[in-house]
């Protein structure tokens, strides 16, 4: 896989994770989203924070999330993101795609064997 392809996959995956996190959280700011992904995945998925924001911007550009400045729980100014209706639809679509992909790979790999 070349650098370009690798980046593309990562981007797509990151988008999916963000959308899913927002679906659950309702409204969250960037740092919160990063932390959420980390925690929920048991620290397996460590998102590089700096690449989170361009991703969020992309989602915002495509109309899948909406953003506005607000105040966090500790009275700190932060930019909060939320899913739009379009984003919800996109989430469903991408999740389906991901599961189909995962199932296909699982079929090829065969049942899980003990290491």
């Amino acid at each position: 896989m070349t650098t370009q392809e690798r980046i593309a996959i990562l981007q797509g995956t990151l988008d999916l994770l963000i959308l899913r996190t927002l679906a659950g959280a309702g409204q969250e700011h960037g740092q919160g989203i990063a932390r959420a992904i980390q925690d929920v995945s048991n620290q397996t998925l460590l998102v590089e924070h700096s690449s989170l924001y361009p991703a969020l911007q992309r989602l915002e550009d495509r109309g899948w999330v909406r953003a506005e400045w607000g105040t966090s729980s500790n009275n700190r100014r932060a930019r909060f993101y939320a899913l739009t209706a379009l984003g919800r639809k996109q989430l469903i679509r991408e999740s389906d795609q991901w599961w189909r992909f995962a199932d296909a790979i699982a079929l090829v790999l065969g049942p899980r064997t003990a290491r």
């Binding site: 700011h29 960037g30 740092q31 911007q57």
Partner: protein, 904 residues
């Protein structure tokens, strides 16, 4: 996403983009700050210290700069901002290198502007169509290959046969002096009058600016019945206020008053290229306008140029056949019963139609050739300029590797860096274009002035041609942007290969190969040599022309030109008038001598008469016509022409006494075989009867143009030729500066003959300068642009060499550390570059030889292989190149070996 949803999303984005303020970089930065702060808080909650948390949060975030850069790039909606930012940055960079910027912009602006100006001019003179309706259908009808003109009855005849022509008109153009408007005193200057038939303007299909044009019913019915005039826009502007102001005013010419009924549009000045019409007068007023030749209209004298408009769909061949038949019939009717009119003559009749869409100009080619030469020169300079600027940009780019590397490592994408270089190129291009507009406007104005200062006056008023300007700009821009490609490509290459380590410090190691480098130098030197050699040749041509021996004194002579024909002054009356004028002028203070002649110096068109010399047989193809001049006694002394044998005319050589003549040296040698032709007799066609005796031989004097080789001329005493005298010019020899006497001479002549129009009184030197206006133009242009080419080539060499020195500094340092001397280094660099220069000179020499041969017609007394011009050219270029190479080479010797090695 379905298609519909995608479209909706796009529309929504577009809408949002238009209505909502786009997100700024600052907003993004604030979000990042906020993120880091939140993360720090979280870390503190997880047990980190306050100070450590901040640092850790920042570390975990990653590269802030990259993120900002990436964000910045996704803002496709702010492309305009991007471009503006790039341009501003490019401007800053250019300002930091003002020398480069100035040279680049100026050289391209000069090349582009000059090209546009000259092409516009050449286009107007050579290629442009008349500003009339359907110029393609206009033809000039030539009924006889010996003469360009015909008579009025023929025009009428052609008009009656309408089968192939939509319209037929005729014109006779001439200069008239002393035309007075009612509120100004008589203007002694000549105006160009076109006597035209009633359908002339209809033929061209132009509309009047004000008032009306002529019509057949009104203006071509009764001879001398309708004294009206149409003025040109230029004339109207010079003498009246607005267009409607001119209407109804009157002009008086030769005592007849003409009423202005119309003003022609500014784009129409008749069909004679270079001789724009000032006034149009109906043909039927001819006798009033030309009192010296009354009643020409009904006569069968050939004096009218016939024009016609072809009917749509009619071919030129068919129309010519029909026209031939018409004319043959006309001649048949005219010469019925004349025994000289034979059937062979009838069969030989052939009418030819010539395209008129570009106007009528037998001398079009004369002005064209120097212009074309100038155009080639300017084109080459533009080429050199483009090549130069490209080379300079490449050199600059190559020396900015470090900057590129830094930018890339800071997260800028390769595309971004490439765009920056394009922005620089675009900036130079735009600035050069704007400057080029200014140059082209100035250039066109200057060319107009040059064209109007020669003997064949081209009074043109043109605007720089937009399409040519666009073309030259496009060419230059293309060149510049192509060179923007090379550094851009380097940036991309550096980006993909990774920039860390290799280039940040040892940037020089990526010694940029400029593969075009040597080729550039060779090409520039070659072209510069061609131009410099040409400039030298043209300059020497001009010098030779100006300083040659004319055969008469050109420092102290004034020539006064008059128009006695216009007031019907001729013959003995004219002679008496001029003798009186000569006497009066001789008495003026400051005048050494005065005399009159029928023919001025440097006159192109002058009388010739068939001459027969007993004992001389004319060779095949040789002309039997010899030029002649009627002069008053004392003429030769006044003019500074020395007699080599015999005597001058005296007051005794009058009508009735034996006919005498003084011949020029060349004529004596040619017809009599010896310079001493005293006593020999010969005859001319004009004086059938008494043969003429040669009583003197005078030195040759240049006539016609400065290039004429020799002139055979015979001089007759004015009193003995009274019958044939129709013209007289006064020449005056001044003790001091001739210009000081001009006013006095004019007054003196005017006092004697107040009705005689005096068209010009001027020192001969002034007139001579007019005859070489074109040569001066060529010398000026070639000199100026030759110098520019030289400068550009030198700059190019300098830039290349100094860049090469910089690139090879490590190598030089090593050499010197190993014991090489400064001189050896300099020699090495010199040798390499001078060999390129040498190659350029060799190629340039060949090209220059070809070029000189091509312009040989423009040269005077300078052969196409003139060694001096070539030697000068080579020497100049060698000197410039050597200087251009030495300066950076010397800098190379100051390289401190230790420093360079440390960099490694």
């Amino acid at each position: 996403m379905t298609f519909a949803e995608r479209v909706v999303a796009m529309l929504r984005r577009g809408f949002d983009w238009i209505t909502r303020r786009r997100r700024t970089d600052e907003d993004f930065a604030r979000e990042i700050d906020s993120h880091i702060a939140l993360e720090a808080e979280r870390l503190v909650a997880e047990g980190w210290s306050a100070a450590g948390a901040g640092g850790e949060a920042r570390r975990r975030f990653g590269n802030v700069a990259t993120a900002r850069e990436r964000f910045h790039e996704t803002r496709c909606a702010s492309m305009v901002e991007d471009v503006m930012r790039d341009l501003r940055h490019a401007a800053r960079l250019l300002r930091r290198a003002p020398v480069f910027g100035t040279i680049a912009i100026l050289s391209i602006a000069l090349g582009v502007g000059a090209n546009t100006a000259i092409f516009t001019f050449v286009n107007a003179v050579l290629f442009k169509d008349l500003a009339v309706r359907d110029p393609e259908r206009l033809v000039w009808v030539r009924v006889d290959e010996r003469f360009p003109t015909t008579d009025y009855p023929t025009v009428v005849r052609f008009r009656q046969r309408e089968s192939v022509f939509d319209a037929v008109a005729a014109v006779h153009s001439l200069d008239r002096a002393v035309v007075a408007t009612d509120h100004e005193t008589a203007d002694a200057r000549s105006v160009r009058v076109h006597l035209v038939t009633g359908d002339y303007f209809g033929l061209f299909g132009v509309r009047p600016d004000a008032g009306r044009f002529f019509s057949m019913e009104e203006d071509e019915r009764v001879l001398d019945g309708h004294p009206v005039v149409v003025v040109s826009s230029a004339y109207r502007r010079a003498h009246f206020g607005s267009a409607s102001d001119a209407l109804g005013n009157t002009l008086s010419l030769n005592g007849t008053t003409f009423t202005i009924v119309g003003v022609a549009p500014p784009s129409f000045t008749g069909d004679e290229l270079g001789e724009p019409a000032d006034l149009w007068i109906p043909l039927f007023m001819q006798s009033a306008v030309m009192p010296e030749r009354p009643n020409a209209v009904p006569a069968t004298r050939l004096w009218l140029r016939m024009l016609a408009r072809l009917k749509p769909g009619v071919s030129v061949e068919h129309a010519a056949n029909v026209a031939t038949a018409i004319y043959r019939q006309k001649l048949q009717d005219q010469f019925a019963g004349d025994p000289e009119w034979t059937s062979e003559q009838a069969a030989r009749v052939r009418v030819t139609l010539h395209p008129e869409h570009r106007g009528y100009s037998p001398s079009r080619a004369d002005a064209a050739e120097p212009m074309v030469v100038a155009w080639v020169i300017v084109g080459l300079v533009l080429l050199i300029a483009c090549v130069n600027v490209s080379a300079l940009m490449l050199v600059r780019a190559a020396s900015r590797d470090r900057e590129i590397a830094t930018r890339l490592s800071l997260g800028a994408s390769a595309a971004r860096v490439a765009r920056l270089f394009f922005a620089e190129g675009a900036l130079v291009g735009v600035a050069a274009s704007l400057a080029g507009v200014v140059v082209s406007v100035i250039g066109v104005r200057w060319l107009e002035r040059v064209a109007a200062s020669g003997v064949t006056v081209y009074r043109l008023s043109i605007a720089p041609d937009a399409s040519v300007f666009a073309l030259t700009i496009a060419v230059s821009l293309l060149t510049i942007l192509v060179c923007g490609l090379v550094p851009a490509r380097r940036a991309l290459r550096l980006a993909s290969h990774g920039t860390r380590g290799t280039t940040l410090l040892g940037g020089r190691r990526l010694a940029p190969a400029i593969p075009l480098g040597s080729g550039v130098i060779v090409a520039q030197v070659a072209m510069a040599l061609v131009l410099v050699t040409g400039a030298g040749a043209f300059a020497r041509t001009l010098a030779r022309l100006e300083h040659q021996d004319m055969g008469f004194d050109r420092e102290h002579l004034i020539e006064a030109f008059t128009e006695p024909e216009q007031v019907n002054l001729k013959g003995a009356q004219l002679t008496a008038l001029f003798e009186e004028s000569v006497k009066r002028v001789r008495a003026l203070p400051g005048v050494q001598a005065a005399a009159a002649s029928s023919r001025g110096f440097m006159t192109r068109y002058a009388g010739m008469v068939r001459t027969t010399v007993p004992g001389y047989v004319t060779q095949r193809g040789e002309s039997e016509f010899v030029a002649y001049n009627y002069v008053t006694p004392g003429f030769f002394q006044t003019a500074g022409m020395s007699l080599v044998a015999g005597r001058d005319f005296t007051a005794d050589d009058i009508e009735g006494s034996p006919r005498v003549a003084i011949v020029s040296e060349s004529m004596a040698r040619h017809y009599f075989g010896t310079v001493n032709a005293l006593g020999r007799r010969y005859g001319t066609a004009r004086d059938q009867g008494a043969p003429i005796q040669v009583i003197g031989v005078v030195r040759d004097a240049k006539d016609g143009s400065l290039r004429d080789e020799r002139i055979e001329m015979m001089y007759f005493p004015s009193r003995q030729a009274a019958r044939n005298l129709t013209q007289m010019r006064l020449i005056v020899r001044s003790a001091g500066d001739p210009a000081a006497l001009v006013a006095d001479v004019r007054t003196a002549i005017h006092a004697i003959a107040p009705q005689l129009p005096i068209t010009s009184v001027a020192p001969i030197a002034v007139q001579m300068r007019r005859t070489i206006a074109m040569e001066r133009f060529t010398a000026l242009v070639s000199g100026f642009f030759g110098a520019i080419a030289l400068l550009l080539a030198a700059l190019g060499i300098y830039a290349m060499t100094s860049h090469a020195v910089v690139a090879r500094t490590p190598e030089i340092g090593i050499r010197m550390a190993m014991g090489g001397t400064a001189e050896s280094v300099v020699l090495m660099i010199l040798r390499e570059n001078l060999s390129r220069v040498g190659a350029g000179l060799a190629i340039g020499l060949g090209l220059a030889l070809i070029a000189m041969r091509a312009v040989r017609a423009q040269l005077f007394d300078v052969s196409p292989t003139d060694a001096a011009s070539f030697a000068i050219g080579i020497a100049v270029i060698l000197a410039a190149s050597a200087a251009a190479v030495l300066l950076p080479a010397r800098r190379a010797t100051r390289v401190d070996p230790a420093e360079t090695l440390r960099y490694e």
